[in-house]
Symmetry: C2
Subunit: 310 residues, 2 copies
């Protein structure tokens, strides 16, 4: 397998599972994560450390982390909205924390019951905690609703970029941009990531795209062309946000990996094994719709991974 050109960060076990009603049993989560790892996935957002009464799907977060960190070469991420969550995630042994910092005032209040300014303070507090007790752990701020919001509508680009910069100034190692509700278009993606990279250099983080209006892959392509090299995606296209009305599935990992590999952009992920990782996902969520056009259509005749295709 050639050295990867891009990092595909699988968010299904967090973004995907938080958005379905059913709770996947822990044993199925572990089998799914193992299968993703076998396919070559090297970063997984495995859980969210939030109160179990709010998201019962994530009640086993610590147990999932404790398993995932045993897999060699895997960066184990967890979402943490606040200091309490960060403490629990660090205690469980995560390698990387990601914090949802909304650029939309309305979504910030709905999602974490805090203003944007309060969330920057939270980033500062967690950065301090990390420095004190786990300096090797990475801290990422994901700027939610960076491309628009179903509650607020348009989100000014200046505010998005300012917030991303503030998070890095507060101690985050990187700030990425999330299209939480699937409003982004390729021109906007290029504009915002160009600005983000101009401001933050290599502290500009991942593109987290949803496919709500079918533009997910086009938006990833636009981000790639602006130099972004980390992409969040969700196996089977699960995903959404319980506090963002109308948010639906993430970019489908299988289709994203196929797009890059067909372009000759190496992901380090074996597509056949990635498609096989759908089995434990479906077994753990019986009856839940699972998306993905490449798995349904199959690979092109004569397609050989690792070779740029004519």
């Amino acid at each position: 397998m050639p050295h990867p050109d891009v990092l595909i960060s699988e968010v299904g076990p967090r973004d995907g599972l938080q958005s379905v009603q059913a709770t996947m049993p822990t044993a199925d989560k572990l089998r799914w994560i193992d299968a993703l790892h076998v396919a070559g996935v090297r970063e997984i957002e495995v859980a969210s450390f939030v109160p179990a009464r709010l998201l019962p799907q994530m009640a086993d977060a610590a147990e999932v982390v404790r398993h995932a960190v045993l897999l060699p070469g895997l960066t184990v991420m967890a979402l943490v909205p606040n200091r309490k969550g960060a403490e629990a995630a660090l205690a469980a042994g995560v390698h990387k924390l990601t914090m949802p910092v909304s650029a939309s005032v309305a979504h910030s209040l709905a999602n974490v019951r805090k203003t944007r300014e309060e969330m920057v303070q939270e980033v500062r507090a967690i950065a301090a905690l990390r420095r004190d007790i786990a300096p090797h752990v990475k801290l990422e701020a994901g700027i939610s609703t960076a491309f628009g919001c179903t509650l607020q509508g348009e989100v000014p680009e200046d505010e998005v970029i300012r917030l991303a910069v503030q998070c890095v100034e507060a101690g985050a190692d990187e700030s990425g941009l999330s299209d939480t509700v699937g409003y982004a278009n390729p021109a906007q993606v290029r504009r915002l990531f160009r600005r983000l990279r101009a401001e933050l250099g290599d502290k500009a983080g991942a593109a987290h795209m949803h496919n709500t209006r079918g533009l997910g892959l086009a938006n990833c392509l636009a981000a790639y062309e602006e130099g972004v090299r980390t992409f969040d995606a969700s196996l089977g296209g699960l995903g959404g946000c319980p506090y963002a009305p109308g948010a639906s599935g993430n970019v489908v990992t299988e289709d994203l990996v196929f797009m890059f590999e067909a372009m000759g952009v190496h992901t380090g992920i074996d597509i056949g094994r990635l498609i096989a990782a759908r089995a434990p996902l479906m077994a753990g969520l019986p009856g839940e719709p699972v998306y993905g056009m490449t798995p349904e259509a199959g690979l092109p005749k004569g397609f050989i991974q690792g070779k740029a295709h004519a």
Copy 2:
């Protein structure tokens, strides 16, 4: 409505209807075409002039053309595989003929029972016919399976470009590239359209993309960035090829128009009215699945067409 930057060529009444088992009643076809015209669509491939025993869905091709040419400002296209079809299409009054010329040897034989060389001769014959009896009518060659073929596998790029050039030399006004079976990737799309435009200049024609592996919009974006300004698409994502195993739906017109309009690239098409044109389509094909993520998700809050969105 601002002056269009791109031409969206609707192929649903041909590519879409040829690929479903049911035959849409003529009256429904006419209502559907009227609704597309009302939405601002200015080019429609309304039918295929092929023997009714092969494609009974197209038996009313002449009647459909005779209606469509009454709509002001509309370019009425029809697919013709041979001289006999061209004669019938010209007699009905079409404005533009499109010929399917396969770059894959295997698909050419399966689709039109002719070799590629024989199809270039057919283009020459139809160009001569057009010159003699209808010199105002445009003639396009659509190079099918230009990005790969489910029968043959890889299709050499040199052969694709050579065939496109041969068609123009034989008298076609333009040659476009079709991803008949949904194998294309954005890097390949950029490479092939760059070569096509270098060879043919403004005789380089449309991008005709299918969404079989979910890459349809990303491929259109790549083609746009290479300077392509005409895009085939199909309302509700219908489409396929009866003689190309595994070919499935075209790029969804609604999602493509949303992508371009959100980018500030004007299509001349009113998205609301375009979505309304799904009603006569669905009425004419009861029970047939109709795709499109933008119609399902709705437009973003505060979205105003004709304005580039932040």
